[in-house]
């Protein structure tokens, strides 16, 4: 009898929570529209992964067969394209300042002469660094072309010095270095950043949505408290279990969409075992939900959370340790980062999804999320208990009057 009434109460809370959720336009935008639209939007914006045919200017003072060939090779790369030629560096700079080009390749007048005489010569590149992507792409493409040219010239010069055949090959490349890029072979921008963004989107929409719901009930309630007595009928526990189940069910669906379908649809890395991602999701969502529920108790109005915490999305991206590596975050901010379930969530998801790690490789993040679940569950209970007591006291006072 008792147990069945508890279950009934919980089901009632779930039902009423789903109702409030879908009746409220603001909450629908935050908990339904945003988690569905944002991942698609961001993935579309970053879809090209790398830069293609970045416009670059050439200043060829050598005007020789060799310089033309080098420029042809640079132009032929996928990443950059020589769109204009100038006779002086000043002119090329002008084009750069007018944003017609993002880089300049400068070949000095004595380039071919020095190549023929066996001396060392220099090719200069000037790269736009307003975005790191420009610099990286331009530098890389030119570097590859120059290295190829070097190899060719080297063999010719060795031959000229009477060193030929296999021994020339040995000298030109005594230790073959093999660089193998793992997990993000194309060095793609979206493949690197999007997995982190996906987790942050899940966390932030959940956090802001729950804050909005809680703020609303506090704002609308006669006593400015979170849970109206009609719903909870005295059971703190039942309210918490009911509400969190509602959020969990909703976000389990979104997580499937965001963490499983989006990477496949947009060709982001997805070499993780789905079962491991599922196992990770449980503590991640629970920790996020209880964290949000705890904080939400202190939001007096429905808009407060949005106004105050929206900017945290940016902070959370950096705290997650994906762009600026976690190993180089100082102790204080590392500890601060740990407070937010998104940090462990991002790291664990990237390790499973992008690096193909198993659950036992991410013990630290996994345990952290469960510890957070326990801590934030306790704080939620305390905060709700406090709120529910406040209702009771208010009711009591009122009946005395």
């Amino acid at each position: 009898m008792k147990a069945s009434s508890i279950v009934k109460d919980i089901l009632n809370v779930i039902k009423s929570e789903f109702k409030t959720l879908f009746k409220d336009r603001g909450v629908v935008i935050m908990l339904v529209l945003a988690p569905l639209a944002y991942p698609v939007l961001y993935c579309s914006l970053y879809r090209s992964e790398t830069l293609i045919d970045v416009p670059v200017a050439a200043v060829d003072c050598s005007r020789s067969k060799e310089s033309r060939e080098l420029l042809r090779h640079i132009d032929a790369t996928q990443n950059i394209q020589i769109v204009s030629r100038y006779s002086t560096l000043t002119e090329a700079k002008q084009a750069y300042y007018e944003k017609k080009v993002h880089g300049v390749v400068y070949i000095p007048a004595d380039f071919s002469k020095k190549l023929q005489s066996g001396d060392q010569t220099t090719v200069s590149i000037y790269a736009d660094i307003s975005s790191f992507m420009y610099y990286r792409i331009i530098n890389q493409a030119c570097n590859n072309c120059v290295m190829a040219l070097n190899q060719q010239v080297q063999v010719e010069r060795l031959n000229a010095n009477g060193i030929t055949g296999e021994s020339a090959a040995i000298i030109s490349n005594p230790i073959p270095y093999e660089g193998i890029t793992l997990y993000n072979e194309g060095a793609g921008f979206a493949s690197f950043l999007m997995p982190a963004i996906l987790i942050i989107i899940l966390f932030q929409t959940l956090f802001l949505g729950i804050g909005m719901i809680a703020g609303t009930s506090r704002g609308e309630n006669r006593f400015h408290v979170l849970v109206s007595s009609a719903v909870h009928r005295g059971g703190t526990f039942r309210v918490i279990i009911g509400k969190s189940t509602c959020y969990f069910l909703l976000y389990a669906a979104w997580s499937f969409f965001i963490l499983m379908l989006i990477p496949r649809a947009f060709n982001l890395p997805h070499i993780g075992i789905p079962f491991d991602i599922l196992m990770l999701l449980i503590p991640f969502l629970l920790a996020s939900i209880f964290f949000s529920m705890t904080v939400s108790v202190f939001l007096p109005h429905r808009e407060t959370g949005m106004v105050i915490f929206m900017f945290m999305s940016l902070i959370l991206v950096f705290l997650s340790g994906v762009s600026w590596p976690q190993s180089n975050i100082n102790g204080f901010w590392k500890a601060f980062a740990w407070i937010f379930p998104s940090t462990s969530g991002v790291q664990a998801y990237i390790k499973i999804n992008t690096l193909g790690a198993d659950l036992h490789h991410i013990t630290f993040e996994y345990m952290s999320l469960w510890v957070q679940t326990a801590i934030y569950f306790a704080t939620t209970c305390w905060a709700y208990y406090w709120q529910i007591n406040k209702t009771k006291n208010n009711l009591l006072k009122q009946s005395e009057v």
Binding site: Q120, S124, I175, Y177, T181, A187, F192, E303, M306, I350
Partner: protein, 392 residues
């Protein structure tokens, strides 16, 4: 007429200042959040570039040659050897755990094969799942490999009796000399904070435009607000938003001073232009905020849209990923974000230090945002009087 307007604005201003002290959200969303962001980002990126990142070594040869290579790697700027591993599998797993961002593998009999000219390979594995760590370490290792090769080649060529003055010409006929325009140290903080801090600023300006206006509609005080300013929507908005213009411009200028004077990030123009750009960024963001709350004078919707738009602004500034490489249409879309024009001014003035006429269009664009509220003036006024919008 002008006297009237002046009194109306003054009255609204006094009223707003009183409201601002009534709830903590006003203080938190202006001074507290901006101060926190400054402290956070400046201490977070104070290293400039991530140095000494963890790297692993699988040295199956353990000879003097391989140990020398590892010692050389140790002194590189971005790499720090934190572990020696016994097998490829072990190293890969450490990488998957995120404990190392790269590892170098030196095969068994490496030294022996090198001496007998069989050219044994050195293989390095880079984790580009963490792109920034990966590419910096990769740069280190590539450079080191090149230097090591050249060292060995020099020895051989000398032994073969090649003239000393010709050796470098043979080994490295063409040297590539890379210049980074405006940010020669490739400082990560310079590159990011010049976008992120204005990004936070415009987000908070948007929020603190939509909120103080929207809350009047929500709490049904909009009629009183308008009456207090002599029924002039212009006076009502000006008086209300003026305090935020002052506060956020001051905070923004403090941000400029922190970046260019305290951190000494590149500033190749007068700092005055950046002050002006910051002021216009605040102004333009405020007018966009008015439009958001004007379209639906409902606080919750206004705040939601302002938030989602503000977050997109950071992407559309065009720094993280160039806009011209985004799908068609993004370019036009980005023009509707004040921070995009602010970023252009920053690149032209602070970074490239070119003549101010290059940025003229961007300044004009920022200014032209300020006429936008005209579209919603009537709607806001009607709604203020009729109070016919949902409050939830």
């Amino acid at each position: 007429m002008f006297n009237n307007l002046y009194t109306a604005i003054k009255q609204t201003l006094t009223r707003e200042l009183k409201r601002m002290t009534s709830r903590p959200i006003y203080f938190i969303s202006t001074i507290v959040i901006m101060t926190f962001s400054y402290v956070f980002f400046l201490t977070f990126f104070n290293e400039g570039q991530p140095n000494k990142m963890p790297v692993g070594v699988v040295d199956l040869d353990n000879s003097s040659v391989s140990r020398q290579f590892i010692r050389n790697l140790e002194v590189m700027q971005h790499s720090h050897i934190v572990m020696r591993l016994n097998s490829h599998k072990e190293a890969r797993e450490e990488m998957q755990r995120g404990n190392i961002y790269a590892f170098v593998e030196i095969s068994r009999n490496f030294a022996k094969e090198a001496v007998s000219n069989r050219r044994p390979p050195i293989t390095f594995y880079i984790n580009d799942g963490y792109l920034i760590a990966g590419s910096l370490i990769s740069k280190d290792i590539t450079y080191l490999s090149m230097v090591t090769s050249i060292g060995m080649q020099q020895k051989v060529l000398r032994a073969k009796g090649v003239e000393e003055s010709r050796i470098m010409g043979i080994l490295q006929p063409v040297v590539l000399d890379t210049h980074l325009i405006g940010n020669p140290w490739a400082n990560y903080g310079t590159y990011l904070l010049n976008v992120i801090l204005p990004g936070v600023l415009q987000l908070m300006v948007l929020m603190m435009t939509v909120f103080p206006i929207g809350v009047e509609y929500k709490e049904r005080t909009s009629k009183e607000w308008l009456a207090n300013s002599g029924n002039s929507m212009f006076a009502a908005l000006t008086g209300k938003l003026l305090p935020y213009t002052v506060i956020f411009t001051t905070l923004g200028i403090i941000g400029n001073l922190l970046l260019y004077k305290y951190m000494h990030y590149p500033l190749n123009s007068g700092i005055g232009w950046m002050f002006l750009a910051t002021f216009l960024l605040v102004l333009a963001s405020q007018t966009i905020g008015i439009v958001f709350i004007g379209i639906t004078p409902v606080l919750r919707d206004g705040v939601t849209f302002a938030g989602l738009y503000g977050m997109l602004g950071v992407t559309f500034a065009g720094s993280t990923f160039p806009i011209e490489q985004m799908p068609a249409g993004s370019r036009i879309f980005s023009e509707f974000f004040p921070i995009h024009h602010y970023f252009n001014i920053y690149v032209n003035q602070a970074l490239n230090g070119v003549g101010i006429h290059y940025s003229l269009l961007s300044f004009v664009a920022l200014l032209s945002f300020t006429v936008l509220p005209l579209i919603v003036f009537n709607r806001l006024k009607k709604a203020a009087i009729n109070q016919n919008f949902p409050i939830k």
